[in-house]
Symmetry: C2
Subunit: 410 residues, 2 copies
């Protein structure tokens, strides 16, 4: 344990569902108080309570269908500020000296990109002073201040990023508390024998986060990786070691696959019978990139009579805009038929061990075929294989992959 | 009208009930937009919507019965920040460039007294820059920042003070919008023929505010007086000139009395048969002052057999604490009986014209006597006469005074 003065700070982050009711706020305050009494220098980072953020957005959109992003941030930042004040007050009711800080009071400086700002610096002097005088510091997550003095927010899940960035700046470790007790080989609600992973590499965790695993925000994992911050994902409501996210040693990677994921929030856009001329794909995907729409699985069919079919997937939320943009682009290059298909889902395998082990993809395809599941499209990265399937077959597909790679318990 | 660039800014303040629903926010945004389109440089100061402040306090007290004042301010300040962002967004939906600012972003510096901070300086550069570039600036009322960098609040009604202080700092005028269309000779709900006053002096307005007239916060009127800011009280929901609060010329004060007020939120504490020794009153009222309890109407009865009765009034909210303090003080000086009486109310006449016209008090007492109303106690200042009466007789008392001094219409 060492001298108290030698202890490095610990940053504990609590998500919105962990703070959704007064009882839960008391529970969180109790957990923080316990760590403080054990002698840790504790910084708590909190999200907005429960559905606060969605409720605020609803109130805003009733007044302004397309509000300025600056005002969205000004409004949303209040949710975390309220949480921070409530948690600090609950701590003081437990006899713990606590002080809440907004993002700017905590010294979090960001670029001016409202709603998805990037942290470009942290001035942790105020937090350090408060910790040195024995206070628990409760920081409003998800927010910072631009150089122009405007309140910014860090995007959905941004409180994770606040916590990791503060841990990096303070030279401490980071624990992310939510209502699940760690990272699993697959979603246990779909795959009953899914196992909690005691540890996972940053690279794999980033892929899983991108694939819809909601335990940790992808950008927070990226930041932790870049700044060498050890992150633990743990449960607010249960004891247990959780999952440690860290640099994985190659030797630890016995299994080629670490986890499997299912993402239902995708849609496919089909561009059928478009003229097969050079530069067509560039034109189409250039227009989508300009609209900041991320395109995932892309398939272009072999040309037939000078025409080809191009299909790609986008996030559900972007599907309507993507269809419109594709339609305009296709019109501009000689016509074709554009349609949208929401009845798809993506099942994926993630594992840094894939790198050194060939044959993972073919085993995955065999597993899906063995379960009678048709693969619509495939995309792969160095540590990931994703297959697009019909949405109603996706859960069976996830279970088949999970089983084929022996990810389950026992 | 003059050159646009010569126009001094106008600060429009909208209270919580003027912003309680989306429709009302739209109405307020429309009013602001109209002034902007007329060429005015507009700063809008907004309160928290509807009952937001009370709701936040309720949530807080469920977690911490006696929360640190610093955290109360951190929590409450979010209500005004939300209002400001929503109004700015509603303005942009009307095609008006608007930017919301928190208290600290607006440059409002206060002392560190949480929950009742005093403004000690304003740095209006950011507002000036925004106005110069054609923006409407929407400022979150009721809040500022202490030198230590903590969020502070200015006490109930503090948004009025924000508006007046900004007007003083910007060299502009101030309009306070609420759901009444100005200052009346008496509360029109009680006195049907009460008249709206086209103008009232700062001194009289301060007395009326202290007597429970809720149109303007007393400290805001004091600040306006000290800094020579012209204030208009107007209605959000109706057109009309409202009431102008300003330096009154002696010659304008034709009537000795300007208005009458009724304050039900008082209680009386009776200390009966206490030893009549020198210094007793000092000891009793010293203890109350130490507890920051304001004492109003004080009556000490003639001594009888070495004992005397002392009675005084306090605000309703302070009654229980005042009784306890009085009890302890009386015990310490030789005993007596202490009790509390909530069944009282205060009817008052206010008028700077009283100064030069004797006989106002006796006319007031005659009016009450003529209505069969018993006066329990009396207190006077240079421009005010207050009579304590039984609560059930208070409305009749107000009407009698209003009539006796010819304050009504026609």
């Amino acid at each position: 344990m060492g001298e108290e003065s030698l202890r490095s700070p610990v940053v504990l982050k609590f998500g919105g569902s962990s703070l959704a009711t007064p009882d839960r706020v008391r529970l969180v305050a109790g957990r923080i108080a316990e760590r403080h009494r054990q002698g840790d220098a504790v910084v708590a980072v909190v999200s907005a309570q429960g559905d606060t953020t969605d409720e605020l957005l609803e109130r805003l959109h009733e007044l302004a269908p397309d509000p300025p992003a600056r005002e969205v941030d000004m409004l949303l930042a209040t949710g975390e500020q309220q949480s921070a004040a409530l948690v600090a007050a609950a701590l003081s009711a437990l006899g713990v000296q606590a002080v809440s800080l907004t993002g700017w009071q905590a010294g979090i400086a960001t670029d001016p990109s409202h709603r998805r700002a990037r942290i470009h610096g942290i001035a942790p002097q105020r937090i350090r002073r408060l910790l040195a005088s024995g206070h628990v510091v409760v920081v409003a997550g998800f927010q910072g201040l631009s150089d122009a003095g405007d309140v910014t927010t860090l995007g959905r899940g941004g409180s994770d990023l606040t916590a990791v960035a503060l841990a990096a700046s303070l030279g401490g470790t980071c624990e992310i508390y939510s209502d699940v007790d760690g990272v699993y080989t697959a979603d246990p609600r779909i795959v009953p024998d899914a196992r909690r992973l005691p540890a996972i590499g940053y690279d794999e965790m980033m892929e899983l986060a991108a694939l819809g695993a909601q335990v940790l925000q992808g950008r927070a994992v990226e930041y932790a990786w870049q700044h060498d911050v050890e992150v633990h994902a743990r449960s607010t409501f249960a004891e247990g070691p959780g999952t440690s996210v860290r640099h994985a040693q190659a030797t630890e990677r016995v299994q080629p696959v670490t986890g499997a994921a299912l993402d239902r929030s995708v849609a496919r856009v089909l561009c059928e019978r478009v003229p097969d001329r050079p530069g067509i794909a560039a034109q189409l995907f250039g227009a989508l990139a300009k609209a900041a729409i991320n395109v995932d699985v892309i398939v272009q069919s072999p040309s037939h009579e000078g025409r080809t079919d191009i299909a790609f997937t986008v996030a559900d939320d972007d599907a309507v805009a993507a269809e419109e943009i594709a339609h305009a682009a296709v019109e501009g290059i000689g016509g074709g038929h554009v349609s949208r298909d929401a009845d798809v889902a993506k099942v994926s395998l993630v594992g840094a061990g894939m790198l050194s082990r060939p044959g993972v993809a073919s085993r995955a395809f065999q597993a899906l075929a063995g379960a009678g599941i048709n693969i619509i499209a495939i995309t792969t990265s160095e540590i990931k294989i994703s297959c697009l399937v019909r949405r109603e077959e996706a859960e069976a597909g996830l279970r088949a992959l999970h089983k084929a790679f022996g990810l389950g318990g026992d």
